[in-house]
């Protein structure tokens, strides 16, 4: 086994698992044994491969390989380094518990697992690829699997959400193709390295064509990350999907394309301009997302809006890092904190979706104005240890950036590093509002006077296993946050990042700040639950996203980005 075969394992092993499941299904052999075998091959073995690769990436080994071992530039280049290792690790950390959870739902049969494994392979391929057209194919596979998984819910609303997402992103992918056409035409190549070689020598009209093509590619990829103004599709899709799928989509799938894009962005000229737009877009996403979440009354929709808001943090730090340049100390720290926060949010949001999903299922309603007493209902439906409530609390602490969880370190480091940029203010306001929004969500678990209605009883073994993995990641990560952070910085070094440590950062002042934030949030909650204030809030118009508005946002993003790049 050479290193190429090892780091490509997260692509082909899930595919093998999917193929085995397809055959088992066709030959009527599907069952528990087959499922566990697929789980071993498709998820555990890739994790083992990643563990085996750890020495190589700590030694800063970055490997560029051509799939199929062709000794020419025509082949598809795959690039392996610390970043791709981290992305695949992030995905595995979420998808293993999510797969366990999905087994608790009897309506998720073999076809669910098959599509799930294909999606795993596409995520790994997206984080490794260094070829423009292959990125297109990977994004399409990722997209198609998402559409099918979203629509696999029994609700009719999920079909509309899936359809909207499909049409929006399929159209954007055609624009991506036009971008690939433009870049191939002026540079004569599809692999990132060769594109950047040629692109630096372009002048005049050719340069403009290249920049416009790049705009189309970047914006079409960012669509998958749901940055404002491209986020209209997310709320429907993530709130209507089955719980396991929501956890995976909100946790991982909106972040992978963002970090896969970094290879392309680092190679091109004037990437700092894209960075500055992204920094602002991130701040605005964070603020807009949380404001919309505050007035939402449906549990899963609130979580989905909060995803828009949280991805804003990641994008803001990411954009700032690109703006200041990854070679500088601040840039290196920023990109590391962006990835670190992506990890925090992925785990916390996955846990939130799973626990809230289980709770609302047990309650039989998603409406936050009515639903109370989830803990009792869960107990009634057969949960002996109130692990759903406990894990909700852990996730709540993490996403509100309260110690001792992972989120405390992640969010505070990120806002500390972003200081000085305008969007940092937006991020600070957002962190107060986040706590308010989640306090509003927590009413689900308040005790209720009404008698407990048991919707259905089920076994909680698999569900609890998934909670345990995610909850331990949050708590354990909180304890070992600093070594973890240093590990990420070390891994990102081959990208051009310098060795850097956080100067002037002290946990005590952060604790004080967190306390202030918490108090402010409690104060705001007290105000907003006031009768008069509620009446006032209800007067604000609800933004009604129509289909054409999605594309309006897309056109807006395209023109802003193009204006910045071509100017």
């Amino acid at each position: 086994m050479n290193i190429e075969s090892l780091f490509l394992a997260p692509i082909y092993l899930p595919l093998l698992a999917a193929a085995l499941l397809v055959s088992a299904k066709a030959f009527g052999q599907a069952g528990k044994t087959m499922d566990s075998m697929a789980f071993l091959i498709g998820l555990i073995l890739p994790a083992v491969c990643l563990a085996l690769l750890k020495p190589a990436i700590i030694a800063h080994q970055s490997v560029e390989t051509v799939i199929g071992a062709w000794d020419t530039n025509l082949g598809i280049h795959y690039h392996f380094d610390g970043l791709s290792w981290l992305l695949i690790a992030l995905h595995l950390a979420i998808s293993i518990p999510v797969f366990l959870y999905s087994k608790s739902n009897p309506s998720h049969r073999e076809s669910f697992s098959i599509i799930f494994f294909i999606q795993c392979a596409s995520v790994a391929a997206t984080s490794l690829t260094a070829d423009l057209f292959n990125l297109f194919v990977c994004l399409e596979v990722m997209g198609v699997t998402s559409y099918v998984l979203i629509a696999s819910s029994d609700e009719d609303g999920s079909v509309l959400a899936s359809f909207t997402y499909l049409l929006f992103s399929a159209t954007a992918m055609v624009f991506f193709l036009v971008g690939a056409f433009g870049l191939y035409r002026v540079t004569g190549s599809l692999s990132y390295a060769l594109i950047s070689q040629v692109k630096n020598s372009l002048t005049g009209a050719d340069l403009i064509v290249a920049q416009m093509s790049l705009t189309l590619i970047v914006v079409s990829t960012l669509l998958r990350c749901a940055v404002v103004p491209l986020s209209g599709w997310l709320v429907g899709a993530h709130s209507k999907a089955p719980h396991a799928v929501s956890a995976l989509l909100s946790g991982v799938l909106i972040k992978i394309p963002l970090f896969a894009l970094i290879r392309l962005l680092l190679l091109v000229t004037a990437s700092e301009r894209i960075g500055s737009i992204l920094a602002w877009a991130g701040g605005v996403s964070a603020a807009v997302g949380i404001l919309l979440a505050l007035r939402e009354v449906q549990a899963k929709r609130l979580l989905a809006y909060s995803s828009v808001s949280q991805i804003g943090y990641v994008v803001a730090a990411y954009g700032l890092a690109i703006e200041v340049g990854l070679e500088s100390e601040r840039g290196a720290l920023l990109i590391a904190s962006s990835l670190f926060y992506a990890f925090c949010h992925a785990v916390a949001k996955a846990l939130l979706f799973l626990s809230i999903g289980t709770a609302t299922d047990a309650l039989g309603t998603k409406d936050l104005s009515k639903a109370r007493g989830a803990t009792a209902s869960l107990k009634g439906s057969g949960e002996r240890v109130p692990l759903t409530t406990i894990s909700y609390c852990i996730a709540l602490f993490s996403i509100s950036a309260l110690p001792p969880t992972l989120g405390f370190w992640g969010k505070n480091m990120l806002t500390y590093l972003a200081k000085g940029h305008g969007s940092a203010y937006l991020l600070t306001i957002t962190s107060v509002l986040t706590i308010t929004a989640y306090l509003k969500l927590s009413v689900l678990f308040l005790p209720s006077k009404r008698p407990v209605v048991v919707m259905k009883t089920q076994s909680y073994g698999a569900i609890h296993a998934s909670y345990l993995v995610l909850g331990l990641l949050l708590l354990g990560g909180g304890v070992f946050a600093l070594p973890f952070k240093n590990f990420i910085i070390t891994l990102l070094l081959p990208l051009g990042a310098v060795e850097a440590s956080i100067m002037g950062y002290s946990a005590y002042s952060e604790l004080a700040k967190t306390f202030l934030t918490l108090m402010l949030a409690l104060f705001l909650t007290a105000i907003s639950t006031n009768r008069y204030c509620k009446r006032l809030l209800a007067k604000f118009p609800v933004p009604k996203a129509r289909f054409a508005d999605l594309f309006f946002g897309y056109a807006l993003a395209l023109s802003v980005m193009a204006f910045q790049l071509v100017r």
Binding site: E140, A151, V159, T171, R546, F547
Partner: protein, 114 residues
């Protein structure tokens, strides 16, 4: 030369306008099909400018067209058809659920259920 490109650009824009503006969801999918077709035409048309022989290596081949866009478009055509098949299946399910193909009516009827 330039007229061909303008025609393709017009095809692209009419497809895009249909996706954005049409209210019938099946018409939107037609628009997506046209969009795909225009990009495929664009790649093949421009890739064929540098030669006049099909890209099959016979003995007397000297000046063939660029095969790369052709290989890429094989993939793009198939992906396009797969996506539109899936979207049509979703559209049929939406119709069965709401009894309409109009995106606004569908949205309203599905929201009313909640």
């Amino acid at each position: 030369m330039i007229i061909e490109r303008i025609l393709i650009a017009l095809l692209f824009l009419s497809g895009f306008a249909a996706i954005v503006g049409m209210r019938n969801i099946i018409k939107k999918i037609f628009g997506l099909n046209l969009l795909n077709a225009s990009v495929v035409l664009l790649f093949i048309l421009e890739g064929s400018r540098i030669g006049n022989q099909a890209p099959i290596l016979d003995a007397d081949i000297t000046n063939m067209v660029d095969p790369i866009p052709q290989a890429l478009m094989l993939t793009a055509i198939v992906i396009g058809v797969c996506v539109s098949a899936l979207s049509l299946a979703l559209a049929v399910r939406l119709y069965k659920a709401t009894g309409s193909l109009d995106i606004q009516v569908i949205t309203e009827r599905l929201q009313r259920e909640h």
